[in-house]
Symmetry: C2
Amino acid sequence: MSHDQDVPLARIAALLADPTRATVCTALLDGRAWTAGELARHTGVSASTASEHLSRLIDATLLVEERQGRHRYVRLSGPEVAGLIEDLTVFAQAAWPSPVEPPRSLRESTRRSAEARARTCYDHLAGQLGVAVRDASVALGLVLDEPGLVVTEQGWAWLAELGAERPARARSRPAVRSCVDWTERRRHLGGVFGATVHRTAFERQWVERIGSGRALRLTPAGADGFHELLGLDLAAA
Amino acid sequence: MSHDQDVPLARIAALLADPTRATVCTALLDGRAWTAGELARHTGVSASTASEHLSRLIDATLLVEERQGRHRYVRLSGPEVAGLIEDLTVFAQAAWPSPVEPPRSLRESTRRSAEARARTCYDHLAGQLGVAVRDASVALGLVLDEPGLVVTEQGWAWLAELGAERPARARSRPAVRSCVDWTERRRHLGGVFGATVHRTAFERQWVERIGSGRALRLTPAGADGFHELLGLDLAAA
DNA sequence: GCGACACTTCGGCGGCCGCCGAACTGTCCC
DNA sequence: GGGACAGTTCGGCGGCCGCCGAAGTGTCGC
């Protein structure tokens, strides 16, 4: 009766339904731009296969590319896409709870605990650091602990000092995001608020990426900075 | 290398990637419970095929079933699922703008204009009526036109009069939803606020379903009721 | 009870699509 | 210019999965 093209939902879901493409999208949730070769290695397929997958994801505007010399960098096209991927993953993890597989190596074990402490979630902070930022923001009255996590007037002023624009009206995304979060079962600060804190922390080198993953290390400057900015008491790693 | 099971995103997306299952999910966005047979006819597949699809969607907790005699009723399991489906559909419609196909019959043409006036979007109102409710709520100070559409104290009191509970903390979903909306390019009131207005309108018979679709007819009582409640000037159809 | 009906289970067919390797294009570096 | 390297295009193979019809289970009404 009906072709795929007729059902928009099926068409977009089919792109995410392939394990290789899904692994690509999940990897890109770290917010960075990866090269086609990196993604091919990461997913364990040949370069040609990866190339085709990327082209399809780009055609669907899920990804955007940036050519540099002989490299093709791709990243998620925006926060809406990150949100879709996170929401679907969160739902799937709830539907099929994973049997909490034990880490297969010391390397993986340390990576996991590092990610539990602090990690990137597209354009904002997650892990214990993310939760600490969220709680402090509520305690300081920058956001209200209401459905949707509302940014207060005081909060907007605070964001303005960090160089963030106040978005016009309700068009833009709300401040809260529920992340792919297997450690803390709490919602994080996303949206403009979360992105601004994340950007600030990177610009001022309060956090650094550990290796090539999503895990972050809090620098000594970061321990001081977060203390001054939000009153957090954190130990640099 | 990796099986589907390994990638939660792929697993959940695969369920939505089939045109038949996607059509089922889209149909259930009207918020009602359908029988397996109705869905089989609606999607144009045999009863056996439909039955298998429904079982898979139920296993994944996207749908819930309710057995009544020899009938199997299914509906979306909750607002999170409705949100997933809407968000994906909205994204797909933006990625592949449909060529605005002309209505194929008079029947379809009237259905479309009825849906443009007022329709159900899972558990809240959409169409011109939904937009009118949203604008009036902002004008009356029940919600703020901020990112996320914030419900004010006055708004919570207003909702309490309609018998709605104020949800605890930020755990629950925000008040705003961006719907599958090809007529009005504006966001609607979803969440607790939208659901309460929708429930009230049905309980007091301010709106009725037209036929078996998502379209709604505003009753004379509804024209009065919405005027008293929100100051809307609407003509009953 | 018996037929009509809603739905389910099963076996088997067919098409779609993700995979690869080989050959090709384009970029970088010496 | 030549060789190494990143990515692309193409043809063809193989597996997965959505489809159906036939047979089976359970429910309703007479």
